[in-house]
């Protein structure tokens, strides 16, 4: 985005503008899977307040949401449900894998708890058990950085 010094115009590239728009309103989906969801809920509380980044609207429908926060362990029974919800989300869409269980399985070493990146393309991994709300907000910052840099699955090339 550039301010013209002599004329009352702001010029920008469409691509940059779209990225700015995408990064400024990441609406998460109302989906809590386990104890990490408690920390996820508190990011909209006054103390953490993600409405500062335009991400406070937890939409109850996957059709209206941009971001899936996989907050908690994903049981084997839940995997197809999760995939279906992800497929119902409109492009562009992002996934945050929140906490140890969703990212790798964490302390669970059994058949039932599956890392979520076996079925979904995860954008940001958040370590912690559970991650504190500030760690989740940091991951939101990371996601915004990724969107603004242009690396995004399904729309632009994913940066490895």
């Amino acid at each position: 985005m550039e301010m013209s010094p002599h004329q009352p115009f702001i010029t920008t590239k469409l691509d940059e503008f779209v990225r700015w728009a995408q990064a400024s309103a990441i609406w998460p989906m109302t989906m809590g899977l386990a104890c990490c969801a408690i920390e996820m809920m508190s990011i909209v509380s006054p103390r953490y307040d993600t409405s500062r980044f335009g991400a406070e609207v937890f939409r109850s429908s996957p059709r209206q949401s941009d971001l899936m926060i996989v907050s908690g362990r994903v049981a084997r029974k839940m995997l197809p449900v999760l995939r279906q919800l992800y497929d119902q989300m409109p492009d562009p869409k992002w996934v945050i894998s929140m906490g140890a269980c969703a990212s790798t399985g964490g302390i669970f070493d059994n058949y039932a708890v599956t890392p979520v990146d076996t079925i979904l393309p995860v954008d940001v991994y958040v370590p912690g058990c559970p991650p504190s709300p500030d760690a989740l907000i940091y991951s939101l910052m990371q996601l915004r950085r990724e969107i603004e840099a242009g690396g995004k699955a399904n729309v632009l090339a994913r940066n490895a």
């Binding site: 500062r52 140890a100 991994y125 370590p127 760690a135 910052m141 990724e146």
Partner: protein, 170 residues
């Protein structure tokens, strides 16, 4: 009628009260969150004051870890140029941050207080590979915060518990 107006006034009084109260929102990316003193975040491996590594490769942290996220491979010290005081040192030290549950058992198990949990939390990343922290990321020259040096766990490192810092076989 009068009752309804009274209700509105009472309601607006609450609004007015919160309008002048201090805001509870913390402006995070510009301003850090205040954490409790014993907040457990990202690990770090400490050194002694003379630059020797504290880790002696005993793998007690790996045994204590409930998530099995720590990998330690110890090796014999070179007697001429020891990496850690004593016979052995941690040749390889890796923590899978995504598997870690930040319980602090490794910190408790460590006989030399080499591994310490810091209040750092901002390590969210884009790939799983980058969140496996090796010695290059864990080993630090100076502790993350000074207040950690004053917590109980650091008190245990008084002479008598830690091996002599000058190296050589005890």
């Amino acid at each position: 009628m009068l009752q309804a107006v009274g209700g509105i006034i009472a309601g607006m009084a609450t609004t007015l009260k919160y309008l002048f109260k201090k805001k509870s929102t913390i402006d995070y990316p510009r301003e850090p969150y205040p954490h409790p003193e014993r907040f457990r975040g990202v690990h770090e491996l400490r050194r002694y004051d003379d630059g020797m590594e504290r880790c002696i490769g005993c793998e007690l942290c790996a045994v204590a870890c409930p998530a099995n996220c720590i990998t330690v491979i110890g090796a014999e010290n070179d007697p001429q140029h020891p990496t850690a005081p004593g016979e052995r040192y941690g040749y390889r030290y890796e923590i899978d941050m995504l598997r870690c549950i930040f319980c602090g058992y490794c910190e408790e198990a460590c006989p030399t207080d080499a591994i310490v949990l810091t209040p750092r939390f901002d390590i969210a990343d884009y790939t799983r590979d980058r969140l496996i922290f090796g010695k290059d990321k864990l080993l630090v020259d100076d502790p993350f915060t000074q207040h950690l040096a004053n917590t109980e766990s650091a008190f245990k490192t008084e002479p008598g518990v830690a091996p002599p810092p000058s190296g050589g076989a005890p």
